[in-house]
Chain length 242, copies 2
DNA sequence: AATAAATTGTGATATATATCACATATTGTC
DNA sequence: GACAATATGTGATATATATCACAATTTATT
C-alpha cells in the first residue's frame, strides 16, 4: 500500500464536528458507496468548519493538503489573471468537492474558492482520500464521473462564452443561476454586479447596461439582488443567438 | 462484478493489428501499469486503425462505444457552435485517449475529433475499459490524473483566451505549438490560417494581420505553414500582456 | 441615526476587432 | 500542365464593447 507526504495543519481552528461521516446526510454520490469502515476512516481523518461569506476557502497557488467538500452553501471558483482583476470560473453548489482536478493534476491549487454565503465545509486528509481511490475502483469511478462532469459543464460554458456577444452572455448568466444554481425563475443573485460581470467576461458597466435593458424590455424584473425572469423563452432565444 | 451494455460495431473496417497491446511501445502512462493479463484482455477487445488527414475520428453527439487511443499523429478537438463555424478546443498529441471526459461524463461525445495528419488509433471496447477502472484502483488513479491534467491545461488556455486581446492570443497560439506540441522554435503549422484563427478565437483576417505584423517586426519568420520564432522573449512578453 | 465606503447606473468617447469585398497565391483534381 | 477550388493577404468600413468620469444609491460601520 502506498502512502503519501504528511498533511499540513490548516491555519485556522476547526469547530467540533456535529455529524460523523457515516451518519452524514450531505454525503457526495461517491461517498455514498463507501463501506462503513471506509467512512469511519474518512471521519477519523477529516474536520468540519464554517466559512463566512466573503472569506477565502482555498487559495490559488497553495499546496493541496486536504480535499475540501462543500457540505452546504455556495462558493465561487475564480482566478486573478492580474492583481486587480478577477475571473469567476464557476459557482459551486453544495455536495461538491473543491479542487479535485488540481489534486489529481499536480497537487497545486490552480483556482481560488471563496464563500458567497456562510458555508459548511469538510476538510478530508488527502492521503486517506487518495488511498481510498486506489483501493476502491468503484469509488474511483464515481470520482472520475464527478471530475468528468465538472469538466464538461465548465467547458460548455466557456465555449458558449467565447463565441457569444454581450447580450447572449448576460442571458446565459441569468439562465445559469435560474437553471443550474437555484432551479427557479426567481432568485437572489448571490454576488455584486462586478462579480456577475466577472463571471460572464464583460465589463461591469456593460453588464449593468444589458441587465437594465432586459428590465426595460420586461424580460426580467430586478429589485436590488432579486431577479425574476418574466419571459423565459425570449431569454433562451437571446442566449442561443449569442 | 458489474458489466455494461453491449458495444456498437464501428462502421468501418479495421486493419489487422501490427502490434499486440502487451508489446506495444506506444502505451499510455496508465496502460503501462497494467498486468500482462489485463493488457491481453484489452488486446482481445480492441482494434487498430489508420485515419487519414482531414478525416473525422469521432463525431460530436455520437454515443461512446469505444475509448479511442491516439497512438501516433496529431488530431484536433473541436465543436461547431453553428453549422458554419468551428471552434477548435485543443490539439491532441499522440499517447492520449480521446473523449475520456465524455465517456465518464454521460457516454455521449461532446466534442469532435479529426486527424490533422495521418494518425494511428486504437479502439478499445468501453465495457472492458470501465471494468478495468473499477477493478484496478491504480489504473483508475492514472486515468484520473489524465482527465485532471487535460482539464487543467485546457482551462488555463481558455482563461488566458478570455482576458487577452488579439496580440496576446496570437502569441499564445504560436507558443502553444512551439512549447506544447512540437517542443521546438521551428515547426510546420499543421492547419490552415482559418483553423489557427478558430483555435485562438479570432477572425481569419485578424489572425493573418497579426501574424504578418509579427513577421514584419522580425519576431517570427513565416514561409507558408513553416513558422520559426526569432524573438522568444518578446513573444512571451506579448503573450503575458494579452 | 449618521457617516463613510462601496456599488450602481448613466453618458460620452475611444478603440479593438469583425465584416465585407476582392485581388493574388497556393493547392488539389483531372 | 491546365484549370478549378480553396486559401491568403489587404484595404476600407461598421460595430460592439471597453474605458473614463461622475452623480446617485446602497451597504457597512460606528
Amino acid at each position: 500500500m502506498i502512502t503519501f507526504a504528511t498533511t499540513k495543519t490548516p491555519m485556522f481552528e476547526f469547530e467540533n464536528k456535529k455529524t460523523t461521516c457515516p451518519d452524514c446526510k450531505d454525503k457526495s454520490c461517491a461517498a455514498a458507496i463507501l463501506s462503513r469502515e471506509e467512512l469511519e476512516m474518512i471521519n477519523f481523518n477529516s474536520h468540519e468548519s464554517v466559512v463566512k461569506k466573503g472569506e477565502i476557502i482555498l487559495h490559488e497557488g497553495s499546496l493541496t493538503s486536504h480535499i475540501i467538500y462543500l457540505k452546504s452553501g455556495l462558493a465561487k471558483e475564480f482566478v486573478k489573471p492580474t492583481p486587480e482583476s478577477e475571473q469567476i470560473l464557476s459557482i459551486v453548489k453544495e455536495h461538491t468537492y473543491l479542487g479535485l482536478s488540481s489534486l489529481f493534476g499536480d497537487r497545486i491549487n490552480h483556482y481560488s474558492y471563496s464563500a458567497l454565503e456562510d458555508v459548511k465545509v469538510c476538510y478530508i486528509d488527502i492521503a486517506v482520500f487518495i488511498n481510498l481511490v486506489r483501493k476502491n475502483g468503484n469509488f474511483a469511478y464515481e470520482i472520475l464521473v464527478s471530475v468528468s462532469r465538472d469538466s464538461l459543464n465548465n467547458f460548455h460554458r466557456f465555449i458558449n462564452q467565447l463565441h457569444k456577444k454581450i447580450y447572449g452572455r448576460v442571458a446565459d448568466g441569468i439562465l445559469y443561476f435560474s437553471r443550474i444554481i437555484y432551479e427557479n425563475t426567481t432568485f437572489s443573485l448571490p454576488m455584486s454586479r462586478q462579480e456577475f460581470a466577472d463571471l460572464i467576461g464583460v465589463s461591469r458597466e456593460s453588464a449593468t447596461r444589458v441587465l437594465i435593458k432586459f428590465k426595460d424590455e420586461g424580460i426580467i424584473n430586478i429589485k436590488g439582488h432579486l431577479i425574476e425572469i418574466n419571459k423565459v423563452e425570449l431569454l433562451e432565444q437571446i442566449s442561443r443567438k449569442g
